[in-house]
């Protein structure tokens, strides 16, 4: 037998091994590896979407955009700040027509496209009553908050809150950018607290020509519609003012279309408007009440459904 034949004969002799157990092991390992790869792939897709979306928004703000696996919705984690609407109009063919829910609607202005933000179940004060019927958006108990005119709205509630943006035809990437662009964090005046009440104006700098005759009167004006404002006068800072109410009668009052509402100490009072857009003002003519205190009272105002 030649060496070549000897080697080939040797190669044909194989160890006696039962292949069943290792075969099962191989199948098991392959199934496991596939599952792991699918998990990694799914994670990678989500991360890629997150990165892509975040990259689109982050240059403007710290808004964090995430996505669910199906890509049907985008989640925004908006920083606290002002949302600034550049256009008040609703596009004639806007899908918002008839849409209601716990949403914040901002208008990009450029093309009348709307950004629909679905917030947590929390009633917002609404400016535009067209969107204030009881309804839900994507199953979320909802109220609509829109801007009646170009302006700003303080939306501290959105900080750290996941806001789902309906991506099914209502929003585009441009909308998301516009939403992020609309956020302007500004410290200082016109910060009206932790609730989405639109500040029409805050006049804290002395005489003003609006609807009151006393030159020393200052006021914070809110607008709302179809909701109750709950005036919480239990906070420490407002107690001084409340005491003055009690002692001084009408030093501070709330007005709704000219109807005065008196606030009481250590309690809550609902100021209800049932019809349309109205204004509400907190005001005082007591020079002992500083501007900061007045704003603090305003910050205590909550919106109740």
């Amino acid at each position: 037998m030649s060496v070549d034949e000897l080697l080939r004969t040797y190669a044909s002799s194989v160890p006696a091994l039962d292949p069943d157990a290792p075969l099962r092991s191989v199948h098991h390992r392959v199934r496991r590896r596939r599952l792991v790869r699918r998990g990694i792939a799914a994670t990678a897709v989500v991360l890629a979407l997150v990165a892509a979306s975040a990259a689109a928004v982050r240059p403007h703000h710290d808004a964090r955009v995430t996505s669910n696996e199906t890509g049907q919705a985008v989640t925004l984690d908006l920083p606290a700040g002002y949302a600034e609407a550049s256009d008040r109009r609703v596009a004639p063919d806007s899908p918002l027509a008839g849409v209601d829910g716990n949403v914040l609607v901002l208008y990009t202005g450029a093309d009348d496209r709307s950004v629909l933000v679905v917030s947590r179940p929390h009633p917002f004060g609404a400016v535009d009553r067209r969107f204030t019927t009881n309804a839900t958006v994507q199953g979320v108990p909802a109220a609509v908050y829109t801007l009646a005119q170009p302006g700003r709205v303080w939306i501290p509630d959105l900080h750290g809150l996941e806001i789902t943006v309906d991506a099914q035809g209502l929003t585009t990437e441009a909308d998301l950018r516009a939403l992020a662009d609309s956020l302007r964090e500004q410290d200082g005046h016109a910060v009206l607290g932790d609730y989405p009440i639109w500040a029409d104006r805050v006049l804290t700098d002395g005489p003003h020509p609006v609807d009151v005759g006393e030159q020393t009167r200052r006021q914070v004006v809110f607008r709302s519609a179809g909701r109750h404002l709950v005036l919480d006068v239990t906070s420490g800072r407002s107690s001084t003012v409340v005491a003055r109410w009690r002692d001084g009668g009408r030093a501070v009052d709330g007005l709704g279309d000219g109807d005065a509402t008196y606030l009481e100490r250590d309690g809550e009072r609902r100021v209800g408007w049932e019809q349309g857009e109205q204004s509400f003002a907190l005001r005082t003519d007591d020079p002992a009440i500083g501007d900061d205190e007045l704003v603090a009272i305003a910050r205590s105002v909550r919106v109740s459904g």
Binding site: S2, V3, D4, L6, L7, R8, T9, Y10, A11, S13, V14, P15, A16, L17, P19, D20, P22, L23, S25, V26, H27, R29, V30, R33, R34
Partner: protein, 161 residues
């Protein structure tokens, strides 16, 4: 998986027999063999169309075994220059095995890969990191050395392990 299980049952013992030449214990040899079959199963839809799927898995098994061995040998200066220097180092149970063990490292590796793994010369060359012509030289010289060693031994009849 269609056809895979049959190939596995037929080929697994052979692949283990091959990887034993590159590992120091039988358990590790089976691990490497199974690693190769895992890769085969993952690529089965493509490899099954090859003319010799068993050659594919044998080559992969050899590469995995060598890869693991080189990793263990990393840091050894002498063996780094000869990555297959100690490739066939199991206890030899037969005269043939003893003769193969006595071959220079590159020749031993070429013999194992070509005869026991049944790999073509090109794959042998790739596995040991040389040109095909060089691999042929290794095989030729190995056969000469084995012939000299085995023909001098009148008791060389048992080729089983």
């Amino acid at each position: 998986v269609d056809g895979f299980d049959e190939l596995f049952r037929r080929e697994y013992p052979t692949v283990v027999g091959i990887t034993r030449w590159f590992t120091r214990d039988d358990g590790r040899a089976e691990e490497v063999a199974q690693d190769a079959f895992v890769r085969l199963l993952e690529k089965w839809s493509r490899v099954r169309t090859y003319e010799r799927p068993e050659a594919w898995v044998r080559l992969v098994a050899v590469r995995l075994a060598l890869k693991g061995r080189r990793r263990r040998d990393r840091g050894r200066a002498l063996e780094a220059s000869l990555p297959l220097a100690d490739v066939v180092d199991r206890h030899a149970d037969t005269d043939l095995e003893r003769a193969v063990r006595a071959l220079p490292p590159q020749q031993r590796a070429a013999v194992v890969l070509h005869y026991f793994a049944d790999l073509p010369v090109d794959d042998v060359a790739e596995a040991i990191g040389c040109r095909p012509a060089t691999a042929k030289v290794h095989l030729h010289r190995a056969r000469q050395s084995l012939a000299a060693a085995l023909h001098d031994d009148e008791e060389v009849t048992d080729v089983r392990r």
